[in-house]
Amino acid sequence: MIINYVGVKEINGSLVVMDGVKGVSNEEIVDIRLDNGTTRQGRVVQIDGERIVVQVFEGTRGISLKNTRTRLTGHPMEMPLSPEIMGRVLDGAGRPIDGLGEIFPVKKENINGTPINPVSRVYPRNYINTGISSIDTLMTLIRGQKLPIFSGSGMSHNDLAVQIVRQAKISGADNNNFGVVFAAMGVQKDVAEYFRKSFEESGVLSRVVMLLNLSNDPIIERTLTPRCALTIAEYLAFELDMHILVIMTDMTSYAEALREFSSSKGEIPGRKGYPGYLYSDLASLYERAGMVKGRSGSVTQIPILTMPNDDITHPIPDLTGYITEGQIVLDRALQGQGLYPPVNVLPSLSRLMKDGIGEGYTRADHQPLANQLFASYAKVIDARALASVIGEEELSPIDKKYIEFGRLFEERFINQGFTENRSIEQSLDLGWELLSTLPRAELDRVDDAVLDAYYKG
């Protein structure tokens, strides 16, 4: 027997409170039918006896205390899954919007997923060649990693993400088992269209699942978008053995949606009004990257977030950095100099890189080269700081060499074309070529044996 509950008790933001509800389970999905015939969905977020709080995904506009009939569905939020999902375009809650009809599910999965058992994880070691010197050499992307791009409004993070998708070569992956899940959260229509067109041009569109929650779509739906996307990714990776790259943009909009939901629920806020569980919530998304024993697929995540006011200490980039395995930080000053991609290498980092590079993966000199480039570029920054005080002319000869090295490093190494695809050997050789402009004694992070082989100064 299906009971319809008529009306609600209270409406607050996207939440409605209902009374006298029996047999409801936590996190259950409810269907809400309005008197005008439209239907909405909601999720039970709190239960006190027969009084329940429901979060309405499409928002509460038009709902009055009397005009609804609510039905319990008896199950939590589930995502229909099937191999046919490849190439489809879905809305933020995982419903098709491309006019190609419903997805006939082979199975349904709870969108919250379950945590991967740490002992079942395979430690990621295979590197992904992105063809971008700064990333491949200094913050190598590893299959199964979560490596976010920290950017700001107006910077070229979207171009970079597109270039990575287009050029990413995963050893052992071919067109049949490589796929992209793209989750747009609160992005503008143009941006979503830009991604769609770029995927089309690079010929991967049939291997992309797009979930679009645009900036004018309901906020609560936005909190579901990454969960639906990752449920699809896990299905493709761990059941169909595909290598899935998940691009989620923009995590800042997601976190803001979470804040809005939390405050309308009356929760005690943590830092900057974000809920105290922001860390756990973000972790429940990011930790769904990885590889597991016995399956050959992988989930690699590239979340993109725009740092409010370019502030890396803002809670969203801060907590993200604590969960993800490194970060790629874009810099407005480099962008201003016309450099692309404007990767600021010093705060950027890939934590999994050390075990996925070197002999047998890239080249034996990769790690020492990367260490030395980081260290030398850090000295460039010091020399520039000094030059801004006493003038470049007054610098010591060695500091002048560093200034010159810094200029070359930015213009030739970091800077590369949007369509330029450099092999790892090209990138490493270029690194040594630039280091060779410095005196050999300055290269203190490298063993003599390696210097003998590669230093050409």
């Binding site: 991967i116 994880r121 005690i268 010591s396």
Partner: protein, 584 residues
């Protein structure tokens, strides 16, 4: 019996109405799947329970049953070389039970109950046993002897002893008659509530250092066995890397590594690395002396809160056997956030940054469980606590860092600027401190000679001097400094690059014995004193640097193998020769 049912659900917090059958901190089972929970609040109307597993799908009306006991862990052989979640459920067994993804309500016992251990009895009929005394031993791993102790609350006379042989953890190996005449069957294991510290005979002063083989930690900021340390640092500064290095190389007998709300891939790295790594002291894999507790950031938050206590209880248990235990907690900030999250669900009044007002007292309770002690089983044991702190926005003034500072005595402050320059370990030598100098200096003097302490003080002073000189250099450049100050900067560079920087991936450099650390300091200081004499004769420092000794010393950590300490004499001789030229 009771028929308590769920009334309300809010995230991991569940309430039961109108009952008086629960105790505070009692462990309960919630719902049809018997999810594990703990009572955290009682009023006459509502009992509040935090559930250690995902609460999706629970309904009002589902049963809640008490266990009559607080949150316990099972202590016995089989703990070492195992990996548990935050409430001591073995993850390998869960994997067998539910595959690669953790499902709820997994019914697994903490320890292997079928494995037979080779037990040697240490008591005979008629012996008197006090709480905490050993009545049997067994080899738990090839290097760790497990000493089975009487529960600290019991004492009495042994009335029956089984012969030596193979037993499982629940087999009775002896029978004890207590003073009231009641008999107790003694097995190989015991239960202990995780939030209660285990008793010791007497606390001892922290007068022996924990040797880590990490130069900056051993010399400039040493920690004692039984000491407490905090490693705060923003993301990417190497907290986890430092914790791994400590776990691999410190000279504790047993390592308890708690991954508290951290990354899953990191835990799988620890698993694979520690399994391959051979402990230099015993020539056995590291896992033979390591216990891992992994409650990654996406696992239930309430179990994250418990994981720290589970870890420390296991640590105390091995301390009571007379072992030196080091526990790494990575990261205590995640634990504090779990407290905040649950406190928020309970609608408690928040203090600073939303953290509950009892945060400092919880931190104090935790760190106070560290220490060196005479244990009840006779002999000496210690628990060293090393907690990583992840300050929000790398801001050390936030509440978790500040309160941790109050209760720990070593502060290894990680510095973003050093990490950006890939100076590892990125421990800032100006902001860090150790309060153990007074306790430990007698040990250093006795074991490494008076000069060790003197060298360390001189190195520290040079670094301080450089730091103030750098203020000037930043404004006007190094060229205008007089030569004696330039020399300080040059020597400090050698100290920074050649001594403080340590390469965890370099076979020789990843662990450096104390004797070599001392000789490295000696050579650097020898060069500095000689160079000072040269500079005093108004010979330009550039001439000195051309001799190449400064550069040579920055590479001596790689050039001198750990077992060729005689090579340091050659270095001293070379310095004397090359600089002697200027002094004739």
């Amino acid at each position: 019996m009771n028929n308590n049912v769920i009334f309300g659900i809010n995230g991991p917090v569940v309430t039961v109405r109108d009952t008086d059958s629960f105790e505070m901190m009692e462990m309960v089972h919630v719902g049809e799947q018997s999810l594990v929970g703990e009572v955290i609040g009682i009023t006459d109307r509502l009992t509040t329970i935090q559930v250690y597993e995902e609460t999706t799908g629970l309904r009002p009306g589902d049963p809640v049953t008490g266990t009559g006991a607080p949150m316990n862990v099972l202590l016995g052989p089989g703990i070492i070389d195992n990996i548990f979640d935050g409430i001591e459920r073995p993850l390998k067994a869960i994997e067998e039970h539910s595959g690669a993804f953790i499902s709820r309500g997994a019914k697994v016992t903490s320890l292997d109950i079928e494995k037979r251990w080779n037990v040697t009895m240490k008591v005979k009929v008629g012996d008197r046993l006090e709480g905490g005394q050993i009545y049997a031993t067994l080899p738990e791993t090839p290097i760790i002897e497990h000493r089975v102790m009487l529960h600290p609350a019991l004492s009495g006379e042994v009335v029956e002893v089984k012969p030596d042989g193979e037993y499982t953890i629940f087999d009775t190996v002896a029978v004890l008659k207590d003073d009231a005449g009641k008999t107790h069957e003694l097995t190989l294991c015991q239960q202990w509530p995780i939030r209660t510290s285990r008793p010791v005979k007497e606390r001892l002063a922290p007068s022996v250092p924990l040797i880590t083989g990490q130069r900056i930690m051993d010399t400039l900021f040493p920690i004692a066995k039984g000491g407490t340390a905090a490693i705060p640092g923003g993301f990417g500064t190497g907290k986890t890397m430092n914790q791994h290095q400590l776990a691999k190389w410190c000279d504790a007998d047993i390592i308890i590594y708690v991954g508290c709300g951290e990354r899953g891939n990191e835990m799988s790295q620890v698993l694979s690395e520690f399994g391959e790594l051979i402990d230099p002291k015993s020539n056995r894999p590291m896992t033979d002396r390591t216990v891992l507790i992994a409650n990654t950031s996406n696992m239930p938050v309430a179990a994250r809160e418990a994981s720290i206590y589970t870890g420390i209880t296991l640590a105390e248990y091995y301390r009571d056997m007379g072992y030196h235990v080091a526990m790494m907690a990575d990261s205590t900030s995640r634990w504090a956030e779990a407290l905040r999250e649950i406190s928020g669900r309970l609608e408690e009044m928040p203090a600073e940054e939303g953290f509950p007002a009892y945060l400092p007292s919880r931190l104090a309770e935790f760190y106070e469980r560290g220490g060196r002690a005479d244990v009840l089983s006779g002999g000496e044991g210690s628990v060293t606590l090393i907690g990583a702190v992840s300050p929000q926005g790398s801001d050390f003034s936030e509440p978790v860092t500040q309160n941790t500072k109050r209760f720990t005595r070593v502060f290894w402050a990680l510095d973003k600027a050093l990490a950006y320059a890939r100076h590892y370990p990125a421990i800032n030598w100006i902001d860090s401190y150790s309060e153990y100098f007074n306790d430990l200096d007698p040990w250093f003097k006795e074991n490494l000679g008076e000069d060790f302490v003197e060298y360390r003080n001189r190195i520290g002073a040079l670094l301080q001097e450089e730091s103030s000189l750098m203020e000037i250099v930043k404004l006007i450049g190094a060229d205008v400094l007089p030569d004696d100050q330039k020399l300080v900067i040059e020597t400090a560079r050698v100290i920074r690059v050649g001594f403080l920087q340590q390469n965890a991936f370099h076979a020789e450099d990843t662990y450096v014995p104390l004797e070599k650390q001392k000789l490295m300091m000696k050579v650097i200081l020898h060069l500095h004193s000689k160079a000072k004499e040269v500079v005093a004769r108004e010979i330009p420092i550039s001439k000195l640097i051309e001799q190449g000794m400064f550069d040579k010393l920055t590479k001596m950590k790689y050039d001198i193998p750990n077992d060729r300490l005689d090579m340091f004499d050659d270095y001293i001789r070379e310095i004397d020769e090359k600089l002697g030229v200027f002094l004739q």
